[in-house]
Symmetry: C2
Subunit: 131 residues, 2 copies
Amino acid sequence: MTEEAAFAFDDSDLLPAIAQDVDSGDVLMLAYVSPEAVEQTVETGLAHYYSRSRDELWKKGDTSGHVQHVQEVRVDCDGDAFLYLVKQEGGACHTGYESCFYRQIEELNEDSTAETQIVAEKVFDPEEAYE
Amino acid sequence: MTEEAAFAFDDSDLLPAIAQDVDSGDVLMLAYVSPEAVEQTVETGLAHYYSRSRDELWKKGDTSGHVQHVQEVRVDCDGDAFLYLVKQEGGACHTGYESCFYRQIEELNEDSTAETQIVAEKVFDPEEAYE
C-alpha cells in the first residue's frame, strides 16, 4: 500500500534522523537532517546529515571512511523524524564505538549528569580514524 | 567500566529520545524528553516524554494503555540523545502500527513530500484505543 508523506521540517529546516544497523538492529546514532541531506541520502545511497555545529551538509564517513550504506529511509507518522536502515563501515561513533549509545544510565544525579555503565567494546581507534 | 555522563539539554530543556523494542529490535518512535521525563522514566520504569504540542510531561500509554516498560536507558556520546529499550504493550504509534516508522520512502517530491510504501501491519484499532 502506498501513501504520500509530508515532512514537517522545523524553523531551522532540520529534523532528527536515527541510523539503525540493518543487520544487528543496533541503534547507531541520532543526528539531524536538512531537506538536502535527505535528498543526497536517497540519491547516493550514502547517509548524509546536517551538522548543526559546523552549519553544513555532512556526508557521514567523509573523514573517517566510516560511511553508512543506506538500504531504506523511513519517515514517521508525523513526518518529523527519519529512520535510516544502514550497513555501517567501521563504527558510527567518533569515540570508536560501533554505536553512540554505548552508555547505560545507572543512576541520575541532581545536576543533569548520570553515572553510567559502558556496555560495548570499541571497534576502531579514533586517533587513527580522525588523524 | 563506569563513566559520568553530562546531559546537554537545549534552550527549551528538551532532548530527543528513541524508543526501541528490546525483543524485536524495532525502532518504535522518537519523542522528546525533559529532565523530569528522564527522572520519571528511571524512577517508575515506565517511559515518560515531554509533549511539545501540549507542553506537558507525558506518560506514554496514559490514554491508550499502551505503556512502555523500560529495561534500560542509554545516553549517547554527546549527551544529547537518549535511547529507551522497552517492552511495548499494544503498539507505540497512535495510528495503530507497532512502530511510528511504518512508511518507507520510495521517491522524494520537490515540495518536502514523498511517495511511501507502507511496510507494516496495524496491531490495534486506534479508534478503540483513543476513544
